[in-house]
């Protein structure tokens, strides 16, 4: 299964992961309302169930969830923090408690509404059109009741195309594990040893990360080994003799 099809059941959304992503990007779902921990849990559960780690999918998932987390944290941080507004723990707790009590009340009220609605489930109302003889209302009895401005503003809102999206934060991995494996195997075939820096050239960090994954895979498969003499020093890769 690809990550795109990962089935989610969240408070604000039910469906595959990639639809969630689309809706978030189209701003039809507010990212602030998406419980990302739940998304991660769903993924972990999926891993549990699948019984094996699909590296390709894991990479994709990590990149996407990290981007979503970053985007969400930006949304959540106040634009500019005013210094000196920090509350003492006692004060903060009091305020939080007051909020929680208020929320508790409306959560209870919400439960009550649920019950009301459930009790109403069997009742249906008639919505048949009026018999033609009665359909005409008397124009004489009609008085001005609405503002024409309402129509103009309604059509104005419809005219507004959605703003172009800023996609910088969320990006589908442009590089696949398979590609990087092929790249490394190519290098190994041509040269007995090379440095990791050479292997990645000046690619972006994502490519670097996926190349490292690929290297781990090769090591696991017994195709390559590597050494690094000092921390942060150059990594030398060579074919397993």
């Amino acid at each position: 299964m690809t990550i795109a099809a990962l089935d989610l059941d969240l408070e604000v959304f039910q469906g595959p992961f990639d639809l969630l992503l689309t809706l978030v990007l189209k701003e039809e779902i507010d990212l602030l309302e998406v419980d990302l921990a739940e998304v991660v849990l769903a993924y972990v559960e999926h891993l549990d169930w699948a019984g094996e780690l699909d590296l390709e999918a894991a990479t994709e998932f990590l990149v996407l969830i990290a981007a979503l987390l970053e985007l969400k944290s930006r949304l959540m941080l106040p634009a500019d923090e005013e210094p000196g507004l920090e509350l003492e723990p006692q004060q903060a707790a009091d305020e939080l408690l007051a909020r929680m009590l208020e929320y508790h009340r409306y959560r209870g009220a919400a439960r009550h509404l649920h019950e009301l609605l459930a009790a109403e489930q069997g009742f249906r109302y008639r919505s048949a059109p009026l018999p033609p003889a009665l359909r005409r209302v008397s124009i004489e009895a009609a008085e001005r009741a609405y503002e024409p401005e309402r129509l103009a503003s309604a059509i104005g809102e419809l005219l507004r195309a959605p703003a172009p999206l800023d996609l910088r934060h969320v990006r589908r991995p442009a590089v696949s594990l398979e590609q990087r494996l092929r790249h490394l195997r190519g290098l190994l075939a041509r040269r007995s040893r090379f440095s990791f820096d050479e292997a990645v050239g000046d690619s972006d960090r994502l490519t670097e990360a996926v190349t490292l994954f690929a290297l781990l895979e090769l090591y696991k498969a017994g195709e390559a080994e590597w050494e690094q003499e000092v921390p942060f020093g150059p990594i030398t890769v060579r074919a397993t003799p």
Binding site: R135, V137, I155, L158
Partner: protein
Amino acid sequence: MNTLARTVEALLFLSSEPVSAERLADACEVSEAEVIEALARLREHYAEGFRGVVLREVAGGFTLATDPVAERAARRLLAKPRTPPLTQAQAECLAIVAYLQPVSRPELARIRGVASESAVGTLLDRGLIEESGRSRFGAVLYRTTELFEKLFGLSGLDALPDPARFDPTPEEEGELRERLLRAGDQRAQGPLR
């Protein structure tokens, strides 16, 4: 009244069209004979001259209808137009019909990016819009009514406010329809695939 008769009564109440005994039987999951028996019981309850609603057999089906005794009161009740505040969906549908008329339901849906059945139904019911023939493709077309102009205090359709005022990028007036459709498509599809 037994449960079946009660159920049949409820079904006739909900249906805006006459319903055949066959369809009633199917909905109630009983035989047609049982439905006919239940209808006979109902008929006793709805004997003409005793109730405000009567049971009629028309066009191969059964239906409930009001007794003529209520005609005058019904006219009085319904003659005065109802003018509860418009919901956003209703205002949008009404605006589209007002500015683009005649306009078809698929076009409305395309511009709004969502189906608009119930809003259109309410506007029809309240007499703010009405049918005005069919499009080339057979879709019902809508236009605003005289009542609409009266309720909005408009001397005519050309008295509608200029939509450009609410639009950050005013363009040629004649392009309104195309621009609405384009914006609607963008809303419906989004750039990400």
